[in-house]
């Protein structure tokens, strides 16, 4: 009788935990979207941020976020996939591999602010790139690399051993087998992982504070010369991203509608990340269906 009561009681408590967690998610996303939706408008998305007056937008910040994400992926994807191939196919069980694994573990558990400080030390001060998109993207590459390596390694490991052997049995070299057989087979998994990690990069802020800076020059969206200082494509200009903007508006801004701007920007940020999440799942499934012909 007593144990029965304890059983029912504990199951109730465990269920409460699960309900609480689902409730936190619903409350969080719901609150941000509810508060921010009224502030999102075409004008909010397409006008410049203002320093003193109310009614500033987030055009430049939104562009910077996507542009830094793009440049980061440009560095991360080849490096990360190569790292994943090394870990899954070439690494022999020896000391070097163990060291590499430890390195990835350290990289993935470094706080992002430490990565930002490293970026400041090396890219900003040592290479004299100042606060720039390039410094920020390289810092984010360090931050994102271990994730991509793990995703790629897992995807390659889940390709059946038979495919590896049959490639080799046809007389292909190992590299050619990897390139033409294993990578295509692992592609859906890698793609899903890449898009999910893109969401993580998109929302990252601490690593960018000291590398990409807190300001954006006046951008001229008709000037697409990547060397011009006011061009949106220039990688050597400072760039405030959306998530950094949310922080900066709350921390030390004097605009009267800081709260609304922060909510609006946060709603846009959360929507983008939900979009990344959904598209990762859908694209992964779509590509897999297309490739396996089911």
């Amino acid at each position: 009788m007593n144990s029965n009561k304890a059983n029912r009681m504990s199951i109730f408590l465990i269920t409460c935990c699960a309900v609480l967690m689902a409730g936190i998610l619903l409350g969080l996303v719901g609150y941000i979207l509810y508060q921010g939706f009224s502030h999102i408008s075409l004008r909010f998305l397409t006008s410049d941020a203002s320093a003193f007056l109310a009614g500033g937008g987030i055009k430049n910040q939104l562009w910077n976020s996507f542009y830094i994400l793009f440049i980061t992926m440009l560095f991360t994807v080849p490096l990360g996939i190569a790292g994943g191939i090394y870990m899954a196919e070439y690494a022999k069980p020896n000391k070097l591999t163990g060291f590499m694994r430890s390195c990835l573990e350290v990289l993935s558990s470094l706080p992002s602010i430490i990565v930002g400080m490293f970026g400041m030390l090396v890219f900003v001060n040592f290479f004299h790139w100042e606060y720039s998109i390039l410094s920020g993207a390289l810092a984010l590459t360090v931050f994102n690399l271990p994730v991509i390596v793990r995703v790629c390694e897992d995807a390659l490991r889940s390709v059946p051993q038979d495919q590896r052997l049959s490639g080799l049995a046809l007389g292909l070299t190992k590299w050619h087998t990897i390139k033409k057989v294993l990578l295509p087979a692992a592609f859906p998994g890698i793609l899903t992982g890449l898009i999910l990690s893109a969401g993580r990069v998109f929302g990252e802020s601490a690593a960018l504070l000291f590398t990409a800076g807190l300001s954006t020059p006046n951008l001229d969206f008709t000037n697409w010369n990547p060397l011009a200082p006011n061009s949106p494509l220039n990688v050597f200009r400072s760039a405030e991203t959306l998530s950094v903007h949310i922080w900066a508006v709350n921390a030390d801004s004097i605009i009267p509608d800081a709260k609304q701007v922060a909510y609006g920007a946060a709603a846009v940020l959360v929507l983008c990340i939900l979009l990344f999440n959904v598209s990762a799942r859908c694209l992964g499934r779509l590509v897999e269906r297309k490739m396996t012909g089911k």
């Binding site: 009681m9 590499m100 573990e105 706080p111 360090v142 504070l209 950094v244």
Partner: protein
Amino acid sequence: MIVKNGESSLDHKTVNRRLIKENVSYRTFLSRNSENRGKILIFICASLIMAATMSITLFLTLQGIRSFTVDGLNPIKFLTGIHWNPESHQHASYGALPFIFGSFTVTILAALIAAPIGIGSALFMTEIAKTWGQKMLQPVIEILVGIPSVVYGLIGLSVIVPFIRSQFGGLGFGMLAAAIVVGIMILPTVASLAADAIKSVPDEWRQASYALGATKWQTIYKVVIPAALPSLLTAVVLGMARAFGEALAVQMVIGNAKVLPHSLIEPAATLTTMITLSMGHTTDGSVLNDALWSLGLILLIMTYIFIILIRFLSKRGRLS
């Protein structure tokens, strides 16, 4: 005749050429050259990853000990001093204890919030509602993991801080607000890792427990939790490592007072919030700047301690 001969020889040539061409492509298919090229590419990328890790450790250590070697601060006084007062010219003092204390308190409180809820949710997913619980909570966890830390900070600033202000008085900013925000932030990490840990407990053990007449709860806390304990601890420690390094969300709700707080609802500061706030305003090479790098070094050392702790725990998990 001659023309015909010529034609035939031409024919012969083209055929030959095609044969050779096919042969060439066939060779690249099998050649050791492309194999080596690919191998070298992969090894260069792998060594770049190792170089990045080593250079982060090396550079941050070198920069972090500058305040002791170049500026002559006393390391023991730095770690135990409670006065952080770099502005005064005569008695500039650099005591980092309030920030170290703040970081540890926030981390431990966050773990105390996240561990029960996270492990409870994991138990729900794996033991109580195996099919639909998993289907419901897996996306919840994945979305919560993806939400950026500034959004958590914003929620903390506009919901949790006013709530604490109305309940306990004071400003509302403080370590309690920070711990709640960070606790919610690490909740999905703890929950998903805990679910993995519980799933790896063999099903026969549960069945054996049921066969002895144990209830579900008795099975959970006498069989499942002890068996998964090292992995569950790993999950919590990983969450704590994340909490220790979180910067912006904490900065938004902790109040940023450079003193040792007397209670959980007074403004305080952590290592990360100090770096976030002051790093941009200091000149390169000043004593304050070097002291901030030393705070960063403490963070780095703690990261390594967390990693060693996790390794130790996962080794124990494998033995049992």
